[in-house]
Symmetry: C2
DNA sequence: GATGTACATGTACAAAAGTACATCTTAGGG
DNA sequence: CCCTAAGATGTACTTTTGTACATGTACATC
């Protein structure tokens, strides 16, 4: 019943290696968001990307390679969203509320939330993906550290991660007020000396 | 190379429906911790439980049923650990530090951490598992709410969840001092009136 | 316009996995 | 001691999947 042949005339498409590769990666990324990286199959990707099965194996030697390319694509998308968060930190006086607002905006994008979930889960059992999964976490800590120190920054990032899972499991983000209150509190948490000996 | 026939004499074991079922569920639970609920297969479970393939299909009509039984088993284990956390809340004066300490103990048990990861991930795409995955979260919120209100309790639970993922992705828990500082701060966060209109 | 190369496409094949089921064996009642 | 139902076991069958590869075709070059 699949409309694989929706356009009976489309017998063969133009040659476009880069475009083809892009389409495949994007389809794989979308599928990972929907079914997880473990549910990925060549045939699913081919169907979603509307390319023949053979194309998915031609551009990626193994399914694992395709998976990784797709996860990298998702990580980049998540990372792009962090630009907003970074901007929220410009004015330190409004930082906690602005950060809460920026994070709330991120949480409203279920696609990104589930992308992060998939990436984190995949990284748990594949250390090779750890740096990818922790990219936004580490960057967030770096950005925040300049203002509130490493330990408070880490606490805020941990809370942000928890909020992401909460949003995924409740199909909607926590209200921005709660985020703001929590982040404000964490900004003011005690920061013990790290260098004391 | 598998020592499937370690005891050449063990041609057939005694009849023991309940024990057999238990062994299968426990093997499945252990495997879910190791490879995730999506990596579960009848043959993997049979191998781990050292029972014939047929036994895994006899006690569970479908693999999905076995998966769910195993996840339920893991949820119960996690839940049991919450008893310690509950105890930490008895003396309110030391509550934040005691809670941090109890949670740190939980995070040191990688098996439980990864069990929680697997459960959460599975629940993201299977709403049927949501209540199972949120069991400890909801219970923690209930316990904390009595002392600090729903909103602060939720913030603490969200942080705890984030800390669980952090531990999983770093192969070790955050230091107990950071947990304590963050939880203390969240205990003191502003709690807006919820009923105001 | 010929031609060769790189890409597009369809098909085939072996391995893995879910499931069904026929066949044995145990244990408890007659 | 016999007999039968419930459980234990091994195997076979079908579907799905990763991957290889043979073949077809567009496009740059001459």
């Amino acid at each position: 019943m699949s409309d694989e042949s929706a356009s009976p005339e489309r017998s063969r498409r133009r040659r476009d290696p880069e475009g083809r590769r892009r389409v495949i990666v994007e389809a794989a990324a979308a599928l990972i968001v929907e079914v997880g990286s473990e549910g990925l199959t060549h045939r699913l990707v081919a169907g979603r990307a509307e390319v023949p099965l053979g194309s998915t194996t031609q551009y990626f030697a193994t399914l694992e390679d395709l998976r990784e390319a797709a996860l990298q694509h998702l990580a980049a998308e998540i990372d792009a969203e962090l630009a907003v968060v970074r901007a929220a930190m410009e004015d330190m006086s409004t930082a906690p509320a602005a950060l809460a607002s920026a994070w709330h905006a991120f949480l409203r994008d279920m696609r990104l939330v589930q992308a992060d979930n998939a990436l984190s889960w995949a990284a748990v059992h594949d250390p090779h993906l750890r740096s990818l999964a922790l990219r936004w976490f580490d960057e967030l800590v770096v950005v925040l550290s300049a203002h509130i120190g490493v330990r408070r920054a880490t606490a805020v990032a941990v809370f942000a991660d928890g909020a992401t899972w909460h949003a995924a499991l409740h199909d909607e983000p926590l209200d921005v007020r709660l985020l703001a209150d929590a982040i404000t509190a964490l900004f003011a948490a005690p920061e013990p000396q790290e260098e004391e000996r």
